[in-house]
């Protein structure tokens, strides 16, 4: 074991392996955070399309498009989506993206599909009277949604949304399929450089674990902050 530690120490400190790991960590966080933000925006838009009463052709058409979108992203593995996106779709569209940005876009679209369903259930969990009251004072549907319904929906779905963020962080470990150097890839490089796997991979697990614990705590704090409307002063 002593020897294994020395090998790891050599690679990690002496040969600047930590630099790659830090870069990988930053890449992982970039993908997860940006992906989540894109996902929230996309998911909210899709959920809005789904909850609008389908009275005319445009609403029905958009709804079908959203169904197809959600169906595709929930029905295929993220690795496949990454491969198709990076090697097929983006080149075919003539979009030149760095691997990292492509990963952000695809993880964003992927989590958008999941968050749309979370958001829809959140919007539907808000009492219908809230929207009615906002409409009754003369606010438009979209303003009523943005000012009254969606803030309450987000409060209701915060635990689920946190869960989605955690899943997203862990899923980014497959980003190296499209040549992104993320946390997993960084440790993998350290391990395969001298065929000593135990310590790098346990370290890798530990880093993910710590990340997830920090996020869990953050969400708890946020929940408590938002629960202020349920408390008396």
């Amino acid at each position: 074991m002593q020897a294994k530690w020395e090998v790891f120490y050599d690679k990690f400190i002496v040969y600047d392996g930590w630099q790659t790991v830090v870069d990988g960590l930053i890449a992982t966080l970039q993908i997860a955070v940006s992906g989540l933000l894109i996902g929230i925006v996309l998911g909210t838009l899709i959920a809005a399309v789904k909850v609008v009463p389908k009275t005319n052709f445009v609403a029905k058409f958009l709804s079908v498009i959203c169904d197809i979108y959600v169906g595709f992203f929930r029905g295929t593995p993220i690795v496949v989506q990454l491969l198709i996106g990076y090697f097929v779709l983006f080149p075919a569209l003539g979009v030149q993206l760095k691997a990292l940005n492509a990963a952000i876009a695809i993880f964003g679209m992927n989590s958008g599909a999941y968050i749309s369903e979370i958001m829809r259930s959140g919007i539907q969990s808000v009492d219908g009277g809230q929207l009615e009251a906002a409409r009754a004072v003369g606010l438009s549907f979209s303003v009523s949604m943005v000012k009254v319904v969606i803030p309450q929906a987000i409060k209701n779905i915060l635990p689920t949304l946190g869960n989605e963020f955690i899943v997203l962080i862990k899923e980014t470990s497959v980003a190296s399929f499209i040549t992104v150097v993320d946390l997993t890839k960084a440790f993998k490089d350290i391990a395969s450089s001298n065929y000593e796997y135990i310590i790098p991979y346990l370290m890798l697990a530990l880093v993910y674990l710590v990340l997830v614990i920090i996020i869990t705590l953050g969400i708890k704090l946020l929940e408590r902050r938002l629960a202020v409307v349920d408390r008396s002063r």
């Binding site: 009492d127 004072v137 003369g138 606010l139 009254v148 002063r233």
Partner: protein, 273 residues
């Protein structure tokens, strides 16, 4: 003020409102009574198109609200509504509940004025006849005025110390009184009350009815759906009795309560009085 012409509302096969025509005059206080399922709440909710009528017209200030090309939001700003379940915005403090809509509406008008002024300044470049620009209010002024007005309304109902609280911490009576002043904050021309006391503890009914009475005494036009017969008798100028989607009898409270003619109304009153 509001004129309803041949209003019809159908859910699937169930006809909830059957060809109602009715007129509500300015300054009038109209109470609607009737058994549950008679369509009185639906009728009230059709007046500001919270329920879309299946057929017929609702004229308010010369505009047909049932016509989809009419901007319903502009009309609704002049029609206050109070709900049975209060429906205060749970994510807003009491003060924001009252001030939010006036602020948003004033900001929208401000944006409209800015757009108008921009168009005027462009056209002034090309034409010799200079058009005047319209005044644009400052954002701070809008907010200050709305919050001052909200505070004034809260003082009026004696709840100014609750301004920063959230609705979940208030009693039913307090919530409903705030819901009423929230509607008043928009300076409506008509107020619609949908069973305003039905979800309240008996103890709190009085304070809400007192406030409604005050508003009535100030000359507000009102339509009230209610089960409080005593209140209807006291406040209303005219009482409508609805059953099975139709107004089957109407008249002054004295006529209706003391000399009912229609057998269905006689039966109804014998049960509730």
């Amino acid at each position: 003020m509001i004129e309803v012409v041949n209003l019809k509302k159908v859910y699937g096969k169930l006809t909830v409102l059957d060809n109602i025509s009715e007129k509500i005059n300015a300054g009038e206080k109209v109470a609607i009574i009737g058994p549950s399922g008679s369509g009185k709440s639906t009728f009230l909710r059709c007046l500001n198109c919270l329920e879309d009528p299946t057929a017929g017209s609702i004229f308010f200030e010369g505009k047909d609200l049932a016509d989809l090309s009419v901007n319903i939001n502009l009309s609704r700003r002049h029609i206050g509504m109070v709900f049975q379940q209060f429906n205060l915005f749970n994510n807003k403090s009491v003060l924001d509940n009252i001030a939010m809509a006036p602020i948003l509406v004033a900001k929208e008008e401000r944006r409209k004025a800015l757009r108008h002024n921009f168009a005027v300044s462009v056209s002034n470049i090309f034409s010799k006849k200079k058009k005047a620009k319209c005044a644009v209010r400052k954002k701070d002024d809008i907010k200050k005025e709305a919050y001052d007005n909200a505070m004034r309304l809260l003082k009026r109902i004696g709840l100014e110390e609750k301004a920063k609280n959230y609705p979940s911490t208030l009693s039913g009576g307090q919530k409903q009184r705030i819901a009423i002043v929230r509607a008043l904050a928009m300076n409506p021309k008509v107020m619609l009350f949908d069973e305003p006391t039905s979800a309240l503890d008996p103890e709190m009914v009085g304070e809400v009815l007192d406030l409604i009475k005050q508003v009535a005494d100030e000359g507000m036009t009102m339509v009230i759906v209610t089960h409080e017969m005593g209140f209807a008798r006291e406040v209303a100028d005219r009482v409508l009795f609805m059953d099975k989607g139709q107004i089957i009898e109407q008249g002054s409270p004295d006529e209706l309560f003391n000399h009912p003619k229609h057998p269905r109304l006689v039966e109804f009153l014998s049960k509730v009085l």
